[in-house]
């Protein structure tokens, strides 16, 4: 019996994980159905676009510019060890567009947007506002989840695009101001080196990460426990799940786009 108990625990853990995956998958499918079918709530969608997209621009911009600048410094210092300092524009561009741009924007969105969505919806749940929505003939997923996920699917790729450009600009500013690069040559090398595949992969990653971030916020909020502790757990769980899923999805998408 003692030998079997670890196996039992492993079995229970596997079942728990699979049932959680199933619940999230059903939640995602229902959300997609609510996004595509009427009634639509344009005011809620506009509000979510503003909250998730526009108001995330400062944090995304600051993250990207500092990351691009630091990347330029690191590549220059590392490249100098084998006389390859000249590759700074190319590596900054590829690093930002393929990986750092989407991943850092995704993680910043998980920190800023996922937490906020989860806390808001969980509070609505514990104060019976979700029940009130139902009694007012309004489906909570259609009113709360669909607009937020749709807004994230639209705005996060745009934020990633903006983050890529600002990150490259951060590298450009450091390289031309501190490292002695010629501005025109730096820009030419950046543009020449980037391929359409890099840009498409960046935007697709943004779309997927945005969807994950908003979906996790909504899922954990809707399934929150009672009281302040329930709201706290929902918020923490949503950010953890979103961050891990974003990093895992990034690995899979990088494999899809760049495994030669």
């Amino acid at each position: 019996m003692i030998l079997l108990s670890p196996l039992g625990a492993l079995g229970r853990l596997t079942l728990d994980i699979l049932s959680a995956v199933g619940r999230v998958a059903i939640f995602a499918a229902l959300t997609l159905r609510h996004i595509l079918t009427p009634p639509f709530y344009p005011r809620e969608i506009a509000h979510a676009l503003l909250q998730i997209g526009w108001l995330s621009l400062p944090v995304v911009g600051l993250t990207a510019i500092f990351t691009g600048g630091a990347l330029a410094l690191q590549i220059y210092a590392g490249g100098a060890r084998f006389n390859a300092e000249a590759v700074v524009p190319q590596i900054v561009a590829i690093g930002m567009v393929r990986e750092l741009g989407p991943v850092l924007v995704g993680l910043m969105i998980a920190a800023r947007v996922t937490s906020s969505i989860a806390a808001e919806i969980a509070t609505m749940k514990v104060t019976e506002q979700i029940d009130a929505l139902v009694t007012l003939s309004t489906h909570p997923m259609k009113y709360l989840t669909a607009p937020r996920v749709l807004a994230a699917l639209i705005t996060v790729p745009l934020l990633v695009g903006v983050g890529d450009v600002i990150g490259i600009f951060g590298g450009y500013a450091v390289a031309t101001q501190n490292l002695g690069f010629n501005p025109a040559t730096y820009l030419k090398n950046t543009v020449d080196f980037l391929e359409m595949r890099d840009i498409v992969s960046s935007l697709v990653k943004g779309c997927v990460f945005g969807g994950i971030a908003a979906l996790m916020g909504c899922y954990y909020g809707m399934n929150s426990g009672r009281g302040a502790q329930g709201v706290g757990r929902a918020t923490k769980g949503s950010v953890e799940a979103a961050a891990v899923l974003i990093l895992a999805a990034n690995f899979l998408l990088t494999g899809v786009f760049f495994s030669v």
Partner: protein, 248 residues
Amino acid sequence: MIRLENVHKAFGENRVLRGLTLEVPKGTSMVIIGGSGTGKSVALKCVLGLIAPDQGKIFVDGQDATTGDRDAFLARFGMLFQGGALFDSLPVWQNVAFRLLRGSLKRPAAEAREIAIEKLRRVGLKPDVADRFPAELSGGMQKRVGLARAIAAEPEIIFFDEPTTGLDPIMAGVINDLIREIVVEMGATAMTITHDMTSVRAIADNVAMLHDGVIQWTGPVKEMDHSNDPYLDQFIHGRAEGPIEAVR
């Protein structure tokens, strides 16, 4: 008429409703009383479909509550929640007119606002409250806004969940009077759950006492004091000694 037949509901090991059977005649006010955790809120939420019963049937005007057009079914109801359940992100008038701004009962925004202000006035609030947010209001004002929202679309059936909890006795009296007036004026069927015996006497036509997941006693409010039911007697007089075990 609302009829609950042998309704059972358990949450894990906790069997909250154990065969609840109750009839609320059309146009009357039924108040359900009972100790905390006896399933009064669960019963209301089962009627609205917010919680699915494990067993039993619920009928509204003879129609099974779980079948048919859900939107049309819910459009017949208004509900005042215990904590108000006002939407924090919306100003008061949009909370009151929520149903009138979307869905099958949608009206132009200006008309919906007019109706909201009229309903706010009906519950004793001035029009300047309309543009404030729920967090800026006192508990009593939030209850009134919740009440205005519950009656905004002139429902046939209104549920009140602990309408006076957390209010001072004077404000509780004001809310009780408002509920009674509104229910009589609208000719609505009302179901209220409360612990507050002053509310019971002010609001009820009929009373039902829920204990151990079933209706222990039901009858007209005027018979409540002469029921000879030891459970009801203990509850309405607030005695610690009696057949209902008080958790100490």
